[in-house]
Symmetry: C2
Subunit: 153 residues, 2 copies
DNA sequence: TTAAATCTACACTGAGTCAATAGACATTTT
DNA sequence: AAAATGTCTATTGACTCAGTGTAGATTTAA
């Protein structure tokens, strides 16, 4: 898995929307400023996430975006797959985006077997984590920084 | 981590060279035919691996390539890093190719923390595995296919 | 010493992707 | 009606990828 800026921005935007869940919509500009993302680019990305059913929008003067589903129902894997495509390092080990590769015998390919291992490790992580986990982790990191515990005796 | 064709070809070539270790050099064409890799492209890749000290070459009519070091001393991580660059999904969690990202606070970035987890998982796999392991695995897969065990009673 | 087979080096290209940017338009509230 | 927002489509410039082209350099064998 390799994240492009597009994918990174998508996750950052979802994190902000997750922290704002159950409240009113957030304007693109607000997210853009808060997360340091080019506004017009973020427009495209949020639109894309809308077509995936991850977020929903309200138009007009008091418009903006909010999550379309509870944060705990949005897995990072589903988001990344929608924005970036395959999670696997090579497409011949991808479950959702499989493509045949040019090696002489896929079934006996040692490299494929290694790559499958790598894929499974990554998928295990991002399939389990949701936007809710992301929010929780963000709050923890915030706490940690606000009240830094001194471990030196 | 995402492998381009270049990286995949490099690993496939190293596997063949590993299986041929301690014997004479292998011609590009031999590897190219065996692994179904465009010959001219493979030339570039092997040259690149030579500059990394992974393989060495012999010129002239009976020339070709062989591994420059024992297969067990060549980790997949080092090869992939040389051909592809960072193993991490985003460069702000890369150890060898770190780059600052645009997020407001890297130390408190929840996404970064997730990405670091994914990076560590992948690195643990490819850092441990070597070309020797790849060869062993290839031989196992060969055996398995030659004498398929029937588990149905 | 010549010919053939190989590696070496560098440049080039066509297709595609990435990260935006542009501009026109639709919708909603005040 | 005006202003603030989201929607949609197209375009751009830089870059990467995967491969080709061409011209050599080196070595061995005849």
């Amino acid at each position: 898995m390799k994240l492009s800026l597009r994918g990174e921005y998508a996750l950052r935007a979802l994190l902000v929307l997750g922290l704002n869940y159950k409240q009113s919509v957030l304007r693109i500009q607000t997210i853009s400023q808060h997360q340091n993302i080019p506004k017009r680019f973020l427009e495209q990305i949020l639109n894309d996430l809308k077509s995936a059913g991850v977020v929903e929008s309200k138009r007009g003067v008091a418009g903006g975006y909010r999550l379309a589903r509870p944060p705990a129902d949005i897995s990072l894997a589903s988001v990344i797959r929608h924005i970036e495509g395959a999670l696997a390092p090579v497409s011949c080990v991808s479950e959702c985006f499989y493509e045949k590769c040019s090696c002489p015998d896929e079934a006996r390919c040692a490299i494929r077997s290694v790559m499958k291992q790598a894929r499974d490790a990554v998928v295990a992580i991002v399939e389990k984590l949701t936007v809710a986990d992301l929010c929780e982790r963000a709050r923890e990191l915030q706490e940690l920084h606000a009240n830094p515990v001194d471990f030196v005796i």
